[in-house]
Symmetry: C2
Subunit: 187 residues, 2 copies
DNA sequence: ATCGTATGATATACACTGTATCACGTGTAC
DNA sequence: GTACACGTGATACAGTGTATATCATACGAT
């Protein structure tokens, strides 16, 4: 069995939850490991039995989210309606808004967001065929789709999800996908 | 006379230069104040006679750049060719690539990049008149223009300025400005 | 019920921050 | 050019957070 000890899972769950809470309350940088362990009601030294430092904990927390998100968008091919794909994406953000806020606010502390963009760009490039004579290099076009989408999510979170996930999906299609595909991709 | 003491200007110049160098070498977070003062060959305590902390120094360094950039793009109105404005922008980035790299890599440690986006968005909104029936809210459209431009600059820096500033200006117009204006603005 | 192990509590070494102090040297003003 | 003002260098110090080590205890797996 690969199943972990209940105590381990409990400790890691409490630490992750505490990190998310404290980051949303006071910002990632100002949260200390002692803060996390106290909020989680876990011994200070115990933290280091699971993670080397604060970034490692955050990294693990966010990797789960990112894997889920990638898995969510993976099955869709270029022939699907971009608005539907977008709606799925924004629905996921809606259902995991706390963690997404942490992810987007803690950028910079490590190259995590950059890794997300790289992975996403690769995905976009795989799912599209480049146009013959395009003014815009496909690497730039793919990067633009991913980075703009993240910026759009950021805006949505900063404005407390004022529009529905469906509306955001449509905006995502009209503002980002359609114009970029028209310029650089055959489809 | 408002002119500062030569020693003050010298110290601040050395500290700023040291911060930029070290940040490009090892990343902003891992640079300590002691590192900066040693590289600048300045007494440790002297640092605090000018800045409260590391972020204050970075903030001052970047504010100069941002003011210059805003001043550069300010005179242009909506009737100018977006590609020309874009070329100017990318030329500025080219001529100040080191500081721009620091700005874009150190995001997160403070809300600086977010402030840039907010200021830029306000500017875009002032220079455009919203279309009557648009599917895309103008706040989102303006935010998209600014955030996408920053992402494009980021891509350019990460790929060692492989294209010319003129080419990037054209891409900026075709990929970002034209599609967004067509959707949300009368011009 | 027993063994293995995760945890709690505590102590410690270490690094960095931020402040205080004083002697020294440079810049400015006259 | 001289005198004074002031910025600087060097050092010491307290405070805070990190990371490791140790030992007794309590929990989980079998």
């Amino acid at each position: 069995m690969e199943v972990q000890d209940r105590r381990v899972k409990r400790t890691q769950r409490l630490l992750a939850q505490a990190l998310i809470e404290l980051t949303l309350e006071r910002g990632y940088e100002s949260v200390t490991i002692r803060d996390i362990t106290e909020r989680a009601d876990i011994g200070y030294a115990t933290f280091f039995r699971h993670y080397t430092d604060k970034d490692a904990l955050l990294h693990e927390v966010l990797e789960v989210v990112l894997d889920e998100m990638l898995l969510l968008l993976q099955p869709f091919k270029a022939d699907a309606d971009p608005a539907s794909v977008g709606t799925l994406l924004f629905r996921y953000v809606q259902d995991h808004s706390e963690v997404c806020r942490v992810l987007l606010s803690s950028r910079g502390s490590m190259g995590l967001l950059q890794k997300v963009i790289e992975t996403g760009t690769r995905n976009v490039l795989e799912q599209h065929t480049p146009a013959e004579q395009s003014q815009v290099p496909i690497e730039i076009a793919a990067h633009h789709i991913v980075a703009s989408s993240i910026a759009l999510i950021q805006w949505w979170l900063d404005h407390d999800l004022v529009y529905s996930a469906e509306q955001m999906g449509t905006i995502y299609r009209d503002l980002i996908v359609r114009p970029t595909e028209a310029l650089a991709f055959n489809d």
